[in-house]
């Protein structure tokens, strides 16, 4: 533990250089804007801004991209409270009580509690990361290809199970993502697959184009696909002097913030869209233990403090599986994995020893980033909120132009723009038909790793599938997968039994 703290101090030496502080600030500001603006979530935001980091060192680039991620999570709550429109999925729960507080003239305290809760929970989660990541990295050294494969399968099933829609549809999307991930060079034999003699496809499908298409362009199209009058929005902009919460508000929020931090940290470690699950879990927990559960849904401050803290803690702890195992469990961390690889850093158990500057520098920058976000989000909330006054009729074309330009700058390729538009149209149709895009993107990013793990496992076992159940850790992951697969079936049976007349 003392060694970890020493490394962390060394990390502060890296993160606190003038350049890295600037990139951290830029990331936090850009992330907050991305979270606030409709049409851009953390996934499309990170993907769009990757090209800007090309000229930076890996540490500075990742510091900036991580700043965008947790900045977007902070910013997402602003639209939830002021507009009743969640900036991203994890802020849906904040709408319930946050918007009610805004309607009662308490938008300022709601936003301030969000910022304070996010800062506290984020900081506690980073401390948890410092303590947990090194021993977990050591344990992860025992992972072989079968364990990696089983863990990735488990991740897909959990993600597909908890995204809210149909399990089969989510699994279908995960398999489509895995298939798209096989385009290009075979990672084992070096042969080309599904390239149809096109030089563009030789290097595989550009994941940034898929991410911006499915999450950015599709969101813009879904917004445009409304009558003109619906494109106008009314926004409550709080005044600076109304921002500060009362002592009563703070007292009511302390417990919720700490519980949210604990729930979020735990949920972030397991596969799935951690921030979304964490916010739901925290809201339900707060409602259950509250002395006034009837106040929830009508503007209870605990209903804002708990979920927002859980959201931020989950975002931070989701970096542990990414850095330690090299496996992202949700689309935003999948995009960050892609960005790390572009910068020549391969996350995994060896990252802490091979790239200590990146690992500890990024962790230290998270402390700084959280502090910057607190400073940004308290006094500048009226400024950020005023951005929401820009009519959507102007904002949506701007987002579209930014997506087109940003996509071109990744590889200077117009084919990437075509692919992005195609994915945007596909993403729009998927929304209409209630297919979830998250499993597809995650599968596209980790598909090649999964294939390599699968084929290596079979090589090791001379083609015997028993290798996946003979190794204890792999068996545990597969059993967890089985349980998650059976959950919907059990729920269905219980529902049927409940409906049967006595």
């Amino acid at each position: 533990m003392i060694e970890s703290i020493q490394h962390l101090f060394a990390g502060f030496g890296i993160a606190a250089t003038a350049a890295n502080l600037l990139y951290c600030l830029l990331g936090a500001v850009a992330g907050t804007l991305v979270g606030i603006l409709p049409g851009l979530g953390p996934i499309a935001g990170i993907a769009l801004l990757i090209p800007i980091t090309f000229g930076l060192s890996p540490t500075s680039a990742i510091i900036m991209l991580c700043g965008i991620y947790y900045g977007a999570m902070y910013g997402g709550s602003t639209t939830s409270i002021l507009l009743n429109v969640p900036g991203e999925t994890a802020s849906v729960i904040t709408c319930i009580d946050g918007y009610q507080m805004a309607r009662k003239g308490k938008a300022g305290p709601a936003l301030a509690i969000c910022a304070i809760g996010s800062f506290t929970a984020g900081t506690l989660a980073i401390f948890g990361m410092v303590l947990l990541a090194p021993p977990l990295a050591e344990a992860a050294l025992a992972f072989g290809p079968p364990e990696y494969f089983s863990l990735m399968v488990c991740g897909f099933i959990v993600l597909s199970n908890v995204t809210g829609g149909s399990l089969i549809k989510s699994l279908m999307m995960a398999v489509v993502g895995l298939i798209i991930g096989t385009v290009g060079l075979d990672p084992v034999t070096g042969e080309y697959r599904f390239t149809f003699d096109s030089t563009y496809l030789l290097s595989g499908i550009e994941f940034v184009a898929v991410a911006i298409g499915l999450f950015g362009i599709a969101e813009v199209l879904a917004n445009v696909d409304q009558p003109l009058e619906k494109l106008e929005q009314s926004v409550i902009v709080p005044r600076f002097r109304d921002l500060y919460p009362s002592l009563k508000d703070l007292k009511a929020s302390v417990g919720a913030i700490l519980r949210g931090a604990g729930i979020g940290f735990g949920v972030g470690l397991v596969p799935g869209p951690a921030p979304v699950i964490a916010t739901y879990a925290s809201y339900m927990a707060e409602k259950r233990i509250s002395k006034h559960p009837e106040a929830f849904g009508k503007g209870a401050i605990e209903g804002v403090a708990g979920p927002e803290s859980a959201n931020n803690a989950a975002c931070q702890s989701a970096f542990i599986p990414l850095f330690v195992l090299g496996i992202p469990f949700a689309p935003p961390t999948a995009i960050l994995l892609g960005a790390l690889m572009i910068h020549g850093v391969v996350p995994g158990p060896m990252m802490i020893t091979e790239h200590p500057d990146v690992f500890w520098g990024v962790i230290a920058s998270m402390y700084i980033g959280n502090f910057i976000l607190l400073l940004l989000n308290l006094p500048f909330i009226p400024f950020f909120a005023s951005i929401l006054r820009i009519p959507k009729k102007i904002l949506l074309p701007l987002v579209m132009l930014f997506c087109l330009t940003g996509m071109y700058t990744v590889n200077n390729s117009i084919n990437d723009i075509w692919l992005m538009l195609l994915m945007g149209a596909l993403g729009y149709l998927m929304r209409r038909w209630a297919y979830d895009a998250a499993p597809l993107l995650l599968a596209l990013v980790i598909g090649p790793k999964m294939e390599v793990a699968f084929r290596q496992s079979l090589m090791l076992s001379h083609g015997d599938f028993g290798v996946f159940v003979e190794r204890p850790l792999s068996l545990v992951f597969l059993l967890a997968t089985l349980i998650f697969l059976c959950v919907p079936a059990f729920q269905f049976m219980l529902k049927k039994l409940g409906k049967r007349p006595a």
């Binding site: 279908m172 696909d225 579209m400 330009t405 075509w418 729009y428």
Partner: protein
């Protein structure tokens, strides 16, 4: 039902089938030494099985309510607006290399604003002009990222 659901399911099934067929044209190898076609072949088969399972759930979910789509069906005028918006963006992609970035971005913004109902000439000219100039300065001069020069050579 569920016409949309059936169409979606059919497309996914076809995608799986085509993947499996194309994979067969690659070396399959054995499980011990898998060829490049083995993994995508089984993925194609798995996708077909999953889409058939989904089809079965659609057929047998008689009285159950269909899953609510994430966005409600738009009125025809809004759909047209969305298609025009996407079409204009595709036109911009086609024009990028020929017209160059500054001109394409100006025309794209003008077209998109017009599609979304902004008809005042002052706004229709000013917003695209400012946006095109600002984005050009940001990417080309500040970030030093080359953008297509096209006919006007900027």
């Amino acid at each position: 039902m569920k016409r949309d659901e059936l169409i979606g399911c059919g497309i996914v099934f076809l995608f799986g089938g085509i993947t499996a067929i194309l994979s067969l044209q690659m070396p399959m190898g054995t499980f011990r030494m898998a060829g490049s076609g083995l993994f995508p072949f089984y993925l194609g088969i798995l996708l077909m099985v999953l889409s058939l399972l989904f089809l079965l759930t659609l057929l047998f979910a008689k009285a159950s309510t269909p899953q609510k789509p994430e966005i409600a069906a738009p009125p025809p005028s809004a759909k047209k607006q969305m298609l025009k918006f996407l079409g204009a963006s595709a036109l911009a992609a086609a024009g990028f290399g020929i017209l160059g970035y500054p001109l394409t971005s100006f025309l794209l913004m003008l077209l998109l604003l017009w599609i979304l109902g902004i008809k005042r000439p002052v706004l229709l000219i000013t917003i695209p002009l400012v946006t095109a100039a600002a984005s050009y300065l940001l990417f080309v001069h500040f970030l030093r990222i080359p953008l297509p020069k096209g006919l006007i050579g900027l």
